[in-house]
């Protein structure tokens, strides 16, 4: 684990360069970001579920009550909290980067395209 860096915040850093606006309604662009990050999470969850099922097939040592009565200890609670933060950062990327963009004032990409094709 990196001691100095807040990897959850830093990982969501925006790429320099003005982002295209794909829709007339900016909320739609944000909604796409969230919906498809969620789609990826559901996919990852399905894969995790599959892992559990395969392990259970092979080992057969999990009961539903084990899962129902499970209480995470301090360390596990911290790990889960961090995982939830990182998860929220992933699905909120569009919103968070729009704030960054408002601070950055990138010129339109076309300005740079033209400039680099000239010089």
């Amino acid at each position: 684990m990196s001691e100095e860096l807040d990897w959850v915040i830093l990982s969501g850093r925006r790429a320099k360069g003005k982002r295209p606006e794909f829709f007339d309604e900016p909320a739609l662009d944000r909604l796409y970001s969230t919906v498809f990050a969620l789609a990826a999470e559901v996919s990852a969850l399905r894969e995790r579920q599959d892992t559990i099922e395969r392990l259970l097939d092979a080992k057969g040592t999990l009961s539903r009550s084990d899962i129902e009565s499970y209480v995470p200890d301090r360390a596990a609670g911290d790990e889960r909290g961090l995982a939830t933060q990182a998860y929220i950062a992933r699905i909120m990327r569009g919103f968070q980067q729009e704030v960054e963009a408002m601070q950055a004032h990138d010129p339109p990409i076309m300005d740079i395209v033209e400039k680099l094709s000239r010089e």
């Binding site: 990196s2 794909f22 829709f23 796409y32 990826a40 990182a86």
Partner: protein, 404 residues
């Protein structure tokens, strides 16, 4: 059996420098690998349908003629709801790949940095030069929407951008570059060995190497050669040199230098100068400077080879040019459009490679077929997503021939 089923992320070769992924991080890359293939394949076809069924007829009705330039198609398609939705999906998929890659790398950056430092101190294969300036074509935007580009640091001496590039390239390319992301370099090696089976280059220069994923297979294939891999970005070189050392490669050196100024190497020093998917990351003035320098340091009889997507020509339909241009405007590739619009043969000739010494060859990624199915064919109209490229090259004439 499904025809186009990429392997899982966990099928990648784990060289020691490769950041470790958790179960869910690998699962997110799996989602993106499939998602990217789906976007360029099945639903990418919607772009042509939208163009032919409504965008082109509307353009003809308004202008009384067909579009005459790919930019006219772009302006029209950017008003089309389908193309806007598809572009939004594609852009998001790029951003998600970056976000996931950065989460993987940054949470273990202390270990990665320490390991890279150790490999680089012991191997002596990394040579940095803080005096090398980052050219504007590398810093104007973050290329490929990779936050920090290929040159920025999260802290002094870190390997974040190089490690992030390596850990996520699999998802970006839909798994088409093989277990070490080196399908491009392997393709180059395959082409050279088929073309000149007995050729033994002694000194090889790779310009714009980033993490060396295309230079390392060349070093491995020619163990008696000395490979110099240069880039202006120290952050990528640090990771690349450590990656090569971790893979046990010893005949390569990663040197921080600009292709625009190769003055530290004498005329004719190298037998082979290589660039792989690099020329489109430059600018109109930088590209000819680099090609002229490459010509100068190349020995008579030597090989210059550039792996690129195909250049636009009058023979390429405008709609295909427009689709291939997508990354220029939506994925931070600002020189892509202008570069692919140029007559590369003329640019090469201007740089000193006579036209009759030039050739163009088709190459495709060489990967382990037992694990990685071939990349989708160009016939499937994925417009640059398939790992199929053109090799633009020349065998530099011998001086005697030149004099004659």
């Amino acid at each position: 059996m499904a025809k186009d089923l990429p392997p899982p992320y966990t099928a990648m070769s784990r060289h020691p420098m490769m950041p470790r992924t958790s179960h869910d991080e690998a699962a997110r890359f799996n989602f993106l690998t499939h998602f990217n293939r789906y976007l360029s394949g099945p639903i990418g076809a919607g772009n042509r349908l939208a163009y032919e069924k409504r965008v082109l007829p509307a353009f003809r009705a308004e202008h009384g003629r067909d579009p005459e330039h790919r930019y006219e198609i772009r302006d029209a398609m950017n008003r089309d709801p389908w193309h806007r939705m598809w572009s939004a999906l594609k852009r998001n998929s790029m951003e998600m790949r970056q976000h996931n890659g950065r989460q993987v790398v940054l949470r273990q950056l202390d270990e990665l940095d320490a390991m890279a430092r150790q490999f680089n101190e012991h191997s002596g294969m990394l040579e940095l030069d803080p005096a090398i300036a980052q050219p504007e074509y590398q810093t104007a935007v973050d290329i490929h929407c990779q936050p920090g580009g290929y040159h920025s640091e999260e802290r002094p001496g870190d390997v974040t951008v190089g490690a992030n590039y390596d850990v996520g390239l699999f998802a970006t390319t839909g798994g088409a570059l093989g277990g070490l992301n080196d399908g491009g370099g392997q393709a180059v090696v395959g082409w050279v060995k088929a073309e000149r089976p007995d050729w033994r280059p002694r000194r090889i220069l790779d310009i714009g190497c980033t993490i060396g994923h295309n230079a390392v297979p060349i070093a491995q294939a020619f163990p008696d050669a000395e490979v110099i891999a240069i880039d202006t970005a120290a952050a990528s070189l640090r990771y690349g040199a450590a990656r090569a050392a971790a893979m046990g490669v010893t005949n390569i050196r990663f040197v921080q230098a600009s292709g625009e100024d190769l003055s530290r190497w004498a005329d004719g020093h190298f037998d082979w100068v290589q660039t792989t998917m690099f020329l489109h990351e430059l600018s109109a003035k930088a590209m000819p400077r680099i090609l002229a320098e490459a010509n100068r340091v190349l020995a008579p009889g030597g090989l210059i080879l550039h792996i690129e997507q195909p250049q636009y020509s009058d023979a390429m339909p405008l709609f295909e040019q427009f689709m291939r241009d997508w990354d220029a405007f939506n994925n931070n590739e600002p020189f892509w459009s202008a570069m692919h619009g140029q007559d590369l043969k003329a640019v090469m000739a201007e740089a000193g490679f006579p036209r009759d010494s030039q050739f163009v060859a088709g190459v495709r990624a060489v990967v382990d077929p037992a694990i990685f199915p071939p990349s989708p064919d160009a016939a499937e109209e994925d417009y640059g997503r398939a790992a199929i490229w053109n090799a633009y090259g020349a065998w530099k004439p011998l001086e005697q021939a030149e004099a004659a």
